[in-house]
């Protein structure tokens, strides 16, 4: 890995992947897509409250990274977190039930869409303050190094968060102390309604760490194989004790910033264009069909299975009871 930030060519030819691997990516990305569509529907029915930020369009980013990481590597992100949790192996039931604010949710209904965690699955949230997870993810890396493990912290944030001061503060310390942290910038091109070009003087976000000599790479975040290949290189860098690295994932969200965003700040053509020409799931589907790893019927059967899983999660999320009134006062402090 070069120390000077250097852009990779976009949509590079990915190495051919074996059948089982491609099928897994197809399944994992489709689960996120169907889960989010259902979450949007439940939101529409008033069963999910508050804010709900969907990950539709960005699925390849977390699925590609999850494919590269190993047991014990940590993931932390901001508020657009449903996809990360599903990819990390958290149950669709538990995530959906948290969205509906029920006892069966990962935070017993006390966190909601933006605040979920699973220490068992090494998922450290789910953070609602834009950019706050970046120093925290850096601190996870500090703990890894302190304890002498070779685990790596994947710290995700968006193009919007990449302008926050604490991001640069954290990067400086990570570089200074050579912490094993991989900063994954999910550049979906809009910070809520403000495009990258209107918010950022340097739009090549893989250069965010340049002032601290942190190497960076631009990655086609709509191509799960490109994401995985970049993540593997980054992991090797971090595990070797060379310190932090930035991966800028060029991606796109199809939906608004949150459920109540009509997304009028982009043209009518933009979304269909992304869906038609760059959809991460269609991309894998095409690879599967072209290589004759699966036929349309087999892929339809997978879709059906996933729909059933999501339907079950939606049912669980509606049948799980609301948290007991006693829960109001629990979990504020740990017993000393």
């Amino acid at each position: 890995m070069a120390t000077a930030p250097k852009a990779a060519s976009r949509r590079r030819a990915a190495a051919p992947a074996p059948k089982e691997e491609l099928l897994k990516y197809y399944r994992d990305m489709l689960l996120i897509r169907r889960f989010e569509e259902r979450a949007g529907q439940l939101y529409g029915q008033g069963l999910i409250g508050g804010f709900c930020h969907l990950y539709i369009g960005q699925e390849a980013v977390i699925v590609g990274i999850e494919a590269a990481l190993e047991d014990g590597d940590q993931v932390i992100t901001g508020y657009r977190d449903h996809g990360h949790m599903l990819a990390m192996g958290m149950s669709a039931d538990g995530v959906m039930a948290e969205l509906t604010g029920r006892e069966g949710g990962y935070s017993k209904g006390k966190g909601g869409s933006m605040h979920m965690f699973s220490t068992e699955k090494n998922f450290f949230g789910g953070h609602g303050i834009v950019g706050a997870q970046v120093p925290i993810g850096t601190g996870l890396a500090l703990a890894n190094k302190y304890k002498g493990t070779d685990r790596v912290s994947f710290t995700f944030f968006g193009d919007g968060a990449s302008n926050q001061g604490q991001v640069f503060e954290a990067m400086n310390m990570a570089a200074l102390w050579k912490l094993p942290v991989i900063y994954v910038i999910e550049n979906n091109q809009y910070a809520m309604g403000t495009s990258v070009t209107r918010a950022t003087a340097e739009t090549h976000l893989y250069r965010r760490g340049a002032a601290f000599n942190i190497p960076g790479e631009e990655v086609d975040g709509m191509d799960v194989l490109a994401v995985k290949a970049a993540a593997e290189k980054a992991i090797a860098h971090a595990r070797a004790g060379k310190g932090p690295i930035v991966l800028e994932m060029k991606t796109y969200r199809y939906r608004g910033h949150s459920m109540s965003d009509p997304a009028k700040y982009r043209t009518r053509e933009e979304v269909p264009d992304a869906r038609e020409h760059h959809d991460p799931i269609e991309h894998v589907k095409k690879m599967l069909l072209d290589a004759k790893f699966a036929n349309e019927d087999e892929l339809k059967a997978i879709d059906k299975e996933i729909r059933a899983e999501v339907t079950e999660a939606a049912e669980f999320a509606q049948s799980s009871p609301e948290p007991a009134p006693e829960e109001l006062y629990t979990d504020v402090l740990a017993e000393a």
Binding site: E37, Q45, H115, I129, A143, Y146, Q318, P321, P325, A336
Partner: protein, 460 residues
Amino acid sequence: MPTEILMPALSPTMEEGTLAKWLVKEGDNVAPGDVIAEIETDKATMEVEAVDEGTVGKLLVPAGTDNVKVNEPIAILLEDGEDAGSINGAVSAPPPAQAEAPAAETPAPEAPAAVAPAALEIAQDPDVPAGTEFTELTVREALRDAMAEEMRRDETVFLMGEEVAYYQGAYKVSQGLLDEFGDRRVIDTPITEHGFAGVGVGAAFGGLRPIVEFMTFNFAMQAIDQIINSAAKTRYMSGGQMGCPIVFRGPNAAAARVAAQHSQDYSSWYAHVPGLKVIAPWTAADAKGLLKAAIRDPNPVVFLEHELLYGKRFDVPKLDDYVLPIGRARVVKEGADVTLVSHSRGMEYVMEAVAALEGVGIGAEAIDLRTLRPLDTGTVINSVRKTNRCVTVEEGWPVCGIGAELSATLMSEAFDDLDAPVLRVSAKDVPLPYAANLEKMALPQVADIIAAAKAVCYKE
């Protein structure tokens, strides 16, 4: 089975909207993600996407209809092989019950008291065995000893902050720690409070027990988002999964002639926040015993020190492991006529006032709160039941301060025991001035305490 497409809620507050336009017609096939309609809400025009695959069987609400209620069926979707004839049953089906069901299932608690937090069981100070030797230590040395002892005891404890290592501490509190523990465990940070507070929180989430030193709590305002939103709230928001054992410590409140930006007392700011513990000791013994407790505590602790106390000497028991309970006030001196309550440097003023009041025949009881959250209201209430009078003293501003909290507590818990209104002595309600005379006027004065104590005793 035909599926009903319902009028969606498209904002947290939407109850009804206008079905502006259909983008599909009956007989069209739709796939998940296809835009099927446009809906005007109170805020914006939104596109509605199909969630399921199928054929549009019937549009139930014509385009242009106003005031369509959320969850009202607006169209019927048919699955493969179904024809429009199967719609009839579906249209007359009752609206989905799930939206209202959950709220109705859980009866409201009968009385708020039924779910009130359990009263904390807080231990008394441990007995200091007879014959224990005492050493005179400065508060500075006591804090250093507390950290060193805990770092020896627990490998996961480490110290980070500005100038804590090679410089030996901006106020020399961490003197000698680098030599003993090395730069893996005593870490100099760049001047980036927000960033290193967050790194500390992450390290705590990752299983370590960080002590984060702020050169002063005035600079921790840069970091307060991480202290409150990340450290204090995450346990609750994770349903108890995520622990954050961390100590944020450093000098708080006025020093000497450093003006408003370096002189604020944050006691009430942090004491306001559920999910934190807040400690503000006065003596060296309390500083040592409570800092050791704070480092061992599984929760985030804000530990407010005082620059003007660092050099003060107090007797500290020579014990191997002197740990004090968090959440316990101390009656420093007993008295029958009036209760004076304070913390941190406020106790210096209080003890001077106690001596002066004795000279005019007023027996004052002095209480050092030591911990501000959880606040030991029991000790204060018990004292007021005896003295029937109370004066609170703090270096913070009066509005929404610790004294305001104590006054409200005494009014609700000891109303019948009060023979006079609770009076508050605090800093004046201005940014702390630089000029020596004005600075002195802005801070609480011993004379103010004496006057307040006399007033509540109805004495000249």
